[in-house]
């Protein structure tokens, strides 16, 4: 656990403190994202935690121990640090770069070699190809992966990450974020993560700390922040698409309805009567193996019943053969599926079997309910 109490940093010759009386607690095993516009003191805050900068006032403790009681070099060896500019040593190979902290800890050679390969694999890099390259031979995204691997080398319980995915294109960034979140589920480190991108903050943070000009403006879970922005500054920082951003916090499993009308191949002829009996708006057509292959709505059936035979209905249903999502699909992706296939409904799958149904109305209702809280 990292605790900052009334921490202030006044750089000499600056009119205002870069960080002003900041109080913040980062619980064990969580990612706390510091987010805010450029120059609002995020990096300064981060660098005070590992004493790259000394605070002008206030106290910083890690697990109850003041950082000031520890020798700075020793303190830093125990904290993973990813700097904003990556900062790989250009004259050292990738393997040597990752091995820096293990070497400071005087790990035996074989252990370092093993750990380097392990980390490269963990970060999605091929050890054979990467190990003996120099930083200048890597792409920006690869360098950032190495920067993160280097910070994790001795498996420190605490990591400070300053825009660790800042220097890559959006696609690579999304990929790195996903991978890192998956990893974090296993390694459960206490992480202070800096970004100026609110979307990244929402995605990565267990908690978000929104900074404005050196002051903490709002602190809370992404949902709290998106539901109740503390003031106009936060509102503006989040942007007009607040609700759409909020959608990213939810998955299909929170919004779908498990009750669903299923039509076996032989039942397709009397689909309408089955739906009326089950009071269903929509019915999913299953194949012989019980796999859903599309759906029919009551509206369609009421209009077309006389015009189509079983075959025609099968074909109509098959037009929505791709309108399916998983229970773990984020709501924006489900929405995107609906728009893409012009489908009012999507089928919800779990392990390949039909689990339920979700309509656009269900999404609306879910978001509205979460707004009221």
């Amino acid at each position: 656990m990292i605790e900052l109490k009334n921490v202030t940093k006044q750089y000499p010759g600056q009119p205002h403190p870069a960080v002003d009386s900041l109080t913040l607690t980062v619980p064990e095993g969580e990612i706390c994202v510091l987010v805010g516009p450029s120059g609002c003191g995020k990096s300064t805050t981060l660098r005070m935690i590992n004493r790259m900068i000394e605070p002008s006032a206030g106290s910083i403790t890690i697990n109850g121990q003041s950082v000031m009681n520890n020798d700075p070099d020793h303190l830093r060896m125990g904290i993973g640090y990813v700097i904003q500019q990556i900062g790989l040593l250009p004259h050292r190979t990738i393997a040597e770069n990752i091995a820096i902290v293990p070497r400071l800890y005087k790990w035996p050679k074989e252990k370092i070699v093993r750990r380097v390969d392990e980390l490269l694999v963990m970060m999605g890099l091929d050890p054979e190809k990467t190990r003996s390259k120099y930083p200048s031979q890597l792409s920006g995204g690869q360098m950032q992966r190495v920067g993160v691997a280097r910070a994790m080398a001795v498996d420190p319980p605490i990591m400070l990450m300053d825009e660790p995915f800042g220097a890559v294109d959006p696609i690579a960034r999304t990929h790195l974020q996903d991978e890192f979140l998956r990893l974090q589920k296993e390694i459960r480190k206490t992480i202070v993560f800096v970004t100026h991108d609110i979307n990244e903050a929402i995605k990565m943070g267990d908690k978000i700390a929104i900074f404005g000009e050196g002051k903490l403006v709002q602190f809370g879970t992404p949902e709290e922040v998106l539901t109740n922005p503390a003031n106009e500054f936060v509102e503006n920082f989040i942007g007009y698409d607040r609700i759409v951003k909020k959608l990213f916090l939810y998955q299909v499993q929170e919004a779908y309805r498990p009750a669903v009308c299923r039509l076996r191949p032989e039942e397709i002829g009397n689909a309408l009567s089955k739906m009326l009996a089950e009071k269903a708006e929509v019915a999913f057509v299953l194949n012989e193996a019980d796999k859903p292959c599309g759906y029919l709505t009551r509206e369609e059936l009421e209009q077309e019943e006389t015009a189509r035979d079983a075959d025609g209905l099968q074909k109509l249903a098959a037009r929505r053969s791709k309108a399916f999502v998983q229970t773990t699909t984020p709501l924006p992706d489900a929405l995107s599926v609906m728009l893409e296939y012009d489908a009012e409904y999507v089928g919800v799958l779990k392990n390949g079997l039909l689990e339920g149904v979700m309509s656009f109305k269900d999404i609306r209702r879910h978001v509205y309910r979460r707004e009221g809280e």
Binding site: N50, M52, D73, H74, L75, R76, M77, G78, Y81, I83, Q85, I86, G87, L88, L89, P90, H91, R92, T93, I100, V101, L104, Y134, P135, S136, Q137, R150
Partner: protein, 216 residues
């Protein structure tokens, strides 16, 4: 002036070997001392605590460098007397600047990000200097050493004026005695020595530049 093949042979095979050795001795001792003084001085002048003296020190050295080599040698005579020792001291003055300057430039050129990362991982100041800053600055420092060495080889010929010997002896002797053979051999060998050191140190510079940092 009439050239004689016989005198040329005497100059080359009897006089030159000793002159070359003496000259080499002067160059090696001077440059070695210059490195021992300049590199630590350059390092010191880039440490935060002494950085404010950096500009002053460079200015002083610049002034020292502006004095013609001939004048320094001439001044050394009344103060230090005759021989190799005063010659080395005189040459030393002016060989310091390129090395100090390049050491400072090289160290300041090391990117702040790299130093921040190194410190952030818990490397101490000594480790950062020896494992990060020096290796990255080394090509530039070596280029300063090369400039100094070539300088000492050429101005070292003037050392003969205060009795230090070396190739200068042959040049000055050749002039005084109207013996162009001595002049040609002395000057020629001086030029060859200059080129040799220049090429050798260039090669070393290339070899010592870490592969990750080499251009292309």
């Amino acid at each position: 002036m009439k050239m004689s093949w016989e005198r040329f042979q005497i100059a080359l095979f009897e006089k030159a070997p000793e002159a070359v050795l003496t000259h080499l001795l002067i160059v090696v001792i001077t440059v070695a001392l210059a490195i021992l003084i300049s590199v630590p001085l350059g390092v010191l002048l880039t440490r935060p605590r002494y950085r404010k003296f950096g500009v002053v020190a460079l200015n002083i050295l610049n002034i020292l460098n502006a004095i013609p080599g001939m004048a320094v040698i001439a001044l050394a005579l009344p103060i230090l007397g005759l021989g190799i020792k005063p010659a080395v001291v005189a040459l030393l003055f002016q060989s310091l600047l390129p090395i100090v300057r390049n050491t400072i430039a090289g160290l300041l050129e090391v990117s702040a990000d790299v130093k921040e990362a190194a410190a952030g991982m818990g490397m101490n100041q000594r480790q950062i200097l020896l494992e990060v800053e020096m290796p990255l600055a080394m090509p530039i420092i070596l280029s300063g050493i090369r400039t100094s060495t070539v300088y000492v080889v050429s101005v070292g010929t003037l050392a003969a004026l205060i009795g230090a010997g070396g190739l200068g002896n042959m040049i000055i002797g050749g002039l005084a005695l109207f013996m162009p053979e001595y002049l040609i051999v002395g000057a020629g060998l001086g030029a060859i020595m200059s080129i040799f050191f220049d090429r050798a140190l260039s090669y070393l510079e290339y070899k010592i530049t870490p592969p990750g940092v080499r251009a292309n």
